[in-house]
Symmetry: C2
Subunit: 564 residues, 2 copies
């Protein structure tokens, strides 16, 4: 067996480590700035590749990501595996039954959301192929079809993620969007399979384009019917008779690899196969939530960052960036998709505001557009300038999607306990052992970091306490008050290991004491915060972990792990 | 970038899929036969490689696992990544504090368990190097040191797994063994690093052997002190400020890759680095159980099978198997290790029976021996005959370990509900709606598949029921009786969607009715089964899933998922 030398091994491991670390770090930074994680991951690759690091220190780029030898082949194989598994997860997230359940409305959104941008895209590509970055020598029809598909595709994973972030995933509107996006995805990939066939790529089976087309349809139909039925029959047997969850994990992943290999054999890209296998597996009612979660976490947090970061290594984005082209494609993409979907939603009977929200939700292109562009680049259909444009459009449409829906639907972000907890008002060891003393300590801590009127606040809290004691059992007490002049809710937490009497119904003293101050006018805040504390600290394990926290950071870690 | 062609991609994905599928399937088969999973995984590779499939259909082996081009490099890179991550997991499982807590006894076991087999091994290798498979031209001292190390090493992951399977992991004896094994592992890898240095392998840093040695010690010491302290400080910050569990996952994996690259640079194998990083990470009290589980599951069920199966692809095991050599090495390995550890345990003050159990526990070589052998084979220290011998010895010692401990300590396997549930006595829809009728249906179902005296059993169950009703609340009823002449406990389960009155304290009717028959003499069985049903069905989700089960297989899947 041809093996990697010790030097190859060193470079391979180091480059993977660097890619993963930087991609995860920049992905997290993007998330903190309320941007899509994929944006940070792509930027990581751009920073590590020829665009940035290559200009500063070309030798280190050539050392870490060499262009010849075994290492690039190994990295390419690994990123191919990564994207194959990423599409498996995207497929698993699809819920076929919602497509049917949403009925007419989702069908109309789907059709209109495909046909309008496809037509607009096809017209633009047919009229100005050279300006739109057709690769020299690429067939006009193939390029037109590709560009039209690129305009019509949407990104199910990004859309699903956005809906979840906005708490809309399980609503009727959310399900309508998901149903339309599922149909959109499947149709988009089928059309793209045809495009690849038309590119004259000689498939492994050796047959002509017609064969590829027929086999693709047969493969899609077979996977979604017979194969899906089989998987649903076999899954319970695997769960019953193999170690858990290893049996299902290995089974799902090897099926995805077989599907991917089959798709490659047919002559379409591997990811089409793993996506369909994912849909078939995810549709089984026997697939357990934990299996789904394990695959999802490992793929989303390890494989996906590696794949998206590796894209940035491929070319010099700065040199290839064309602002005019990007603006033009962005306009074509958004107009076609948003108008098409919004019109479809109106036809389907949705009110105007919701119809526009559907339009912007479906407009996110995300990972799918990038993968599509990469395949077209490799196949010689588009040039690097157009590829960079597609990547930028994919990122921009994904970034706009969430905020646009939020403002159209006038949603307010769900407020979380950690938004109101004041870092400096976490007291890991309260001095006082009495109710009044503890309340004073907590008010003092809050007053140090904000504009809290000590005396007035203390009066208000003690008055509330006198009305009815705030020990709620489970060794938790929640003294609180509404305070005039406060701009936003503030929460302080004090820990008393000996316990302080707050007259709890269960007769126990309180160890975790939350002081909650809310603005006079903000009626919802108090209820929201009280409910979240109750929910978060219902488990004894969480209370123990909070009692053991020594710093505010450790406390945040406890809250984060619970709300995940 | 040099990329994989479409054909390369197809072969790479297909070979991964086949390797994973066959390895998982044969791993599960091994588990069912109460053998170590790694045995099945290795056999999978042997079946797919030159040993078996290569004799039957050499062309398919050459197609799936080609020996030239990009695919073998890609597979090699992936299996290197796999074993690096596997050692990360092995490191995370190590609990450094137990090493100190077990004090003198574990130290004595460790020392004696290293020095005795090392001496025996060194003597054997020095006396008969050629017979023991020294590679032509390999240095006598290097070979002696290697063989001695191979005899002295033990396999922490296999040992930990065996102790968990026997329910001994959290006992004093278990912790003693783990502590000794940890020390053994770290010392073994350090010695092996020296051996690799002596092999004259030119390290990336370009320095002499002395440098490699010094750097190795420095690296080990630094990772286990400064680095460990740093990780413990940084982890809470990551959990508090990044998405969960993605932040920790990405962080842990990229650290492992950096550690592996550093070890390669120093001149020892990558896995030494990821193992030490794993120890440092696993030692942090901030690492959450769920993060550990996600990494562990993905690595144990996906990466580890790929790595171990790929070993079998390397050579023709049948042609290289030498029974005399294998027997000899097996004797040297077992005598040195078992006697050394047992003597140490006796010196440390353990009773005779427990001391022998420690000896056999530490005797498992498992994955470590195979990895060591692979490195030596690649470095040209041993020949293929000796490598095959080491693999066989590793497997045999791992297989013997569990059963030997079980019989020495006179343990009985923990009995599980699923051992007693009778497949044909699962009634997804009970006909009767009355207590007596339901009991009769269940007895009837049991009687069909065994030697149950219908009339006597019914009398016994009804008599017990008259004494005190067996509705226990949560919509569960547990009619039961002891039956003379029964050889082993039998359990039948009937589901009544309308509910049957069993006089439960909560006033609800029962929907899940377990009929439990135990032998007259078996006092423990009844209590064990009642307790397990109570524990398993305490969660409402489980009860719902059991109510929805249509077949016995689906019911088993529910039980399996709960007990995992």
């Amino acid at each position: 067996m041809t093996g990697l030398s010790a030097h190859d091994t060193l470079v391979f491991l180091l480059s993977l480590g660097v890619l993963l670390f930087v991609a995860r770090a920049m992905g997290e930074a993007a998330r903190r700035l309320s941007q899509p994680v994929v944006l940070g991951e792509l930027l990581a690759g751009i920073c590590l590749g020829p665009t940035v690091l290559g200009r500063i220190a070309p030798h280190s780029v050539e050392f870490l990501f060499p262009s010849t030898g075994n290492v690039p082949a190994a990295l390419h194989a690994l990123t191919t595996l990564a994207v194959t598994l990423f599409l498996l997860v995207a497929g698993i997230e699809v819920d076929l039954s919602t497509v049917w359940r949403q009925g007419r409305a989702s069908m109309v959104v789907s059709f209109s959301g495909i046909i309008v941008p496809f037509t607009v895209g096809a017209a633009a590509a047919w009229l100005a192929p050279d300006f739109l970055g057709r690769h020299t020598g690429a067939d006009a029809l193939v390029f037109t079809l590709f560009f039209a598909t690129a305009m019509a595709i949407s990104a199910l994973p990004v859309i699903a993620k956005t809906l979840m972030d906005l708490n809309l995933y399980r609503t009727d509107l959310g399900m309508l969007v998901i149903a339309a996006a599922v149909f959109n995805d499947v149709a988009g990939w089928l059309v793209f399979a045809v495009v690849l066939g038309l590119m004259g790529k000689v498939a492994e089976h050796g047959g002509a384009v017609g064969w590829t087309l027929g086999l693709t349809l047969l493969f899609a139909a077979g996977t979604l019917t017979v194969f899906r039925w089989l998987v649903n029959r076999v899954l319970p047997w695997i769960q019953a008779h193999t170690s858990w969850p290893g049996g299902v994990l290995g089974f799902a992943l090897s099926l995805a690899l077989f599907g991917a290999a089959a798709a490659e054999w047919i002559g379409v890209h591997a990811i089409f196969g793993s996506f369909l296998v994912g849909v078939a597996i995810g549709d089984s009612r026997h697939l357990r939530e934990q299996t789904r979660t394990t695959i999802n976490q490992f793929v989303s947090f390890i494989f996906a960052p590696l794949f998206f970061a590796a894209i940035g290594l491929r070319l010099d984005f700065a040199a290839r960036f064309d602002p005019v082209l990007t603006l033009l494609v962005l306009v074509v993409a958004c107009v076609g998709k948003v108008l098409g979907c919004t019109a479809g939603a109106r036809l389907g009977g949705l009110p105007r505001r919701e119809a526009w929200a559907v339009g912007f939700a479906m407009n996110a292109r995300g990972a799918m557009e990038i993968i599509l562009g990469l395949l077209a680049l490799r196949a010689g259909v588009i040039d690097e300038r157009m590829f960079v444009t597609l990547v930028v459009v994919a990122i921009l449409t994904s970034m706009v999607s969430g905020p646009a829906m939020k403002s159209i639907l006038r949603l307010r972000r769900e407020r979380k306990l950690s938004d109101f907890l004041v870092g400096k008002a976490f007291i890991p060891r309260l001095v006082s052992g009495l109710r009044g003393g503890v309340i004073r300590e907590l008010i003092e801590a809050l007053a140090e970091s904000g504009t809290v009127d000590r005396a007035a606040t203390e009066r208000a809290v003690l008055a509330r306490e006198a009305l009815q004691p705030t020990g709620v059992g489970n060794r938790i007490a929640l003294p609180h008050a509404r305070v005039t002049g406060l701009e936003r809710p503030l929460v302080a937490l004090g820990v008393s290991h000996d316990g302080v009497d707050f007259d709890a119904p269960d007769g126990e003293t309180a160890q975790l004491i939350f002081l909650i101050l809310t603005p006079q006018h903000d009626d919802g805040a108090q209820v929201t915060i009280l409910a979240e504390i109750a929910r978060t600290f219902a488990r004894e394990e969480t209370r123990h972990a909070a009692l053991a926290a020594q710093t505010y950071t450790e406390l945040l870690a406890v809250l984060r792990a619970q709300s995940a």
